[in-house]
């Protein structure tokens, strides 16, 4: 496997079995596949079928949580970092588990005695204490894994009590506190802007854009009760505009299209989206 190119931004796809079939039939369109660590941990044979450079993505460190990632999981992540030769590990700036300090007055049937495991990354309470806690986690895990960590902005679906910082300021504060790259998910950023009510193109510039290493794009499900991340449809026009804006001021090394939730995502659309991003990279000389 060849390593991901450093100079020219690579364009890749988030893995699914359907996406792999597309990639195999359109090798000239796909520079790499982004594969979740969690998939490789549970289905290690998957790697045998992937003949593409791999970017490893992760949701298991729970960087913003209070439950330390187990040594067993860290060892497995380290194993897959080495095996895939990923140039970095993208991890959500979020928590996926929480300590259970109080069972409460209501008897629980769900995983008694275990931490709450949400099974999905949730954006954290954003305050100074969290900045400090997350910076320490990044330092600890980065040292243990011996590979650059990128932090990915989560979509904010509701405002957490206790938050005192905007997401941009929160990320900037972490970036000031510790040297860490940014995996900028533009669709997540757009979703957060919908909830908070800011202009995403303006707010984008509040982020430490020089730290952006990788960019994510995915679809948005616009509903009466809000907007939601959706990897089963193409990114809306505004997200592509955000990418165009970003490319004028930042130089990411990779752009990943996350269209991996539905086995029915049309291959023709995948191809169109890849070509659209490549055309944009060409236009902006990124």
């Amino acid at each position: 496997m060849k390593p991901a190119p450093r100079e020219k931004p690579s364009v890749g796809l988030a893995y699914s079995s359907t996406v792999l079939r597309f990639a195999e039939a359109n090798r000239e369109e796909v520079d790499y596949l982004e594969v979740p660590f969690e998939l490789l941990r549970h289905a290690p044979d998957t790697i045998e079928h992937i003949d593409f450079p791999i970017l490893l993505h992760c949701a298991s460190l729970s960087l913003a949580g209070s439950v330390a990632c187990s040594e067993q999981t860290l060892s497995q992540i380290a194993y897959w970092i080495a095996k895939t030769r990923t140039p970095w590990l993208g991890e959500h700036l979020a928590y996926i588990t929480s300590k259970r300090t109080e069972a409460g007055p209501i008897p629980e049937e769900y995983a008694p005695g275990e931490p709450y495991n949400i099974g999905y990354t949730v954006g954290p309470v954003m305050n100074e204490a969290a900045v400090e806690r997350i910076a320490k986690s990044i330092e600890r895990y980065g040292g243990r894994l011996q590979t650059p960590l990128l932090i990915e902005n989560s979509p904010i679906y509701f405002e957490s009590p206790g938050s005192t910082l905007s997401q941009s300021k929160f990320i900037a504060a972490i970036s000031e506190r510790i040297d860490v790259g940014l995996l900028l998910d533009l669709s997540h950023f757009y979703l957060s802007s919908r909830l908070i009510g800011y202009d995403p193109l303006v707010e984008l510039e509040e982020l430490p854009l020089s730290k952006v290493v990788e960019v994510h794009l995915s679809g948005i499900d616009e509903r009466a009760d809000g907007s939601w991340d959706d990897h089963s449809c193409a990114a809306p026009k505004l997200v592509h505009e955000m990418l165009a804006h970003l490319l004028k001021i930042a130089r990411p090394r990779a752009v990943t299209l996350e269209y991996n939730w539905s086995s029915r995502f049309p291959h023709s659309l995948l191809k169109d989206e890849l070509q659209r991003v490549r055309a944009l990279l060409q236009e902006t000389n990124a």
Partner: protein
């Protein structure tokens, strides 16, 4: 603010997302739900103002994402849920069942979800198409799985029934070709699913229940669906690969009151052979 307050907030939010009864209590009796947590008056006040409807929808969203694998088996069902705008509400309502079935196999999870959707749509005539489609796709997925697992090709010389005399014909053994299943539907479910998936579905026009036969292609790929009648269903159910034509006819005549003459059943066998439902071979007994 106490340094651990953000962690406590995250613990409470995590619990909201994995413990539906706790979320309900937080909505109806927040003092009781929050009593065990040591929080400042300000945070308690912020938690009481939390948009719990939004949290509940977010929980449904997580449930939806965790069921992305259903796109492989229930694509039209998920498309309809999205079209009706009830996707997240429905997955939110399914959360307690999802948690109770966490350790079960994918097949069990699928069965529980289908049962839930059927139950949900039962008393809602506006979702009649949903009930029809989820039942059809569930039957179809079972057929595809069985077709993929079974070796149904008889290792016997097959013959064309029209070439045989009536006495010789009766000595032959009918064998089912591939796997099939039967179901009562208010419309042609195969056609309905196709319309939903190709985007031409406008509205559901149901009528009296009719009997449909679903047949899986030998390679487990596609499903053919056609309307049939109860006599055909009975005859097919009696074909077990061991009974001769004569034995099948005798068994059928024993089950129907207005028993027709044996020779009149010949049409069924000939048509079933032509439709690819069965083959006729020369058995051991002559």
């Amino acid at each position: 603010m106490h340094d651990d307050s953000g962690i406590q907030i995250q613990e409470i939010l995590s619990r909201c997302l994995v413990d539906p009864p706790f979320l309900e209590t937080l909505a109806t009796d927040p003092d009781r739900a929050l009593a065990p947590y040591l929080l400042s008056a300000q945070l308690l006040s912020e938690l009481r103002k939390l948009d719990l409807r939004r949290i509940k929808t977010f929980s449904g969203f997580i449930g939806k994402v965790q069921h992305n694998h259903l796109w492989d088996t229930l694509p039209a069902t998920l498309t309809l849920l999205k079209r009706y705008g009830i996707e997240l509400d429905l997955f939110g309502l399914f959360r307690p069942i999802q948690f109770s079935t966490r350790a079960q196999s994918r097949a069990d999870q699928l069965g529980r979800f289908v049962a839930f959707v059927l139950d949900y749509s039962r008393a809602k005539p506006q979702f009649a198409a949903l009930a029809c489609v989820v039942r059809y796709e569930y039957l179809a997925s079972g057929l595809k799985s069985r077709a993929g697992d079974s070796n149904v090709t008889p290792e016997r010389l097959t013959v064309t029934p029209a070439d045989l005399s009536w006495p010789a014909f009766q000595r032959h053994i009918p064998v089912l070709s591939g796997v099939h299943n039967l179901g009562w539907f208010g419309c042609d479910p195969g056609q309905l699913v196709n319309c939903i998936l190709d985007g031409t579905f406008t509205e559901y026009v149901g009528g009296n229940s009719r009997l449909f036969l679903l047949k899986a292609a030998a390679d487990g790929g596609g499903i053919r669906c056609f309307e049939t009648d109860e006599l055909t269903a009975l005859m097919l159910s009696l074909i077990d690969g061991r009974r001769t034509v004569r034995a099948v006819i005798t068994a059928a005549r024993a089950r129907i009151t207005a028993a027709a003459k044996p020779r009149t059943f010949r049409d069924f066998f000939e048509q079933a052979v032509n439709a690819g439902l069965i083959s006729i071979s020369l058995g051991a007994s002559k």
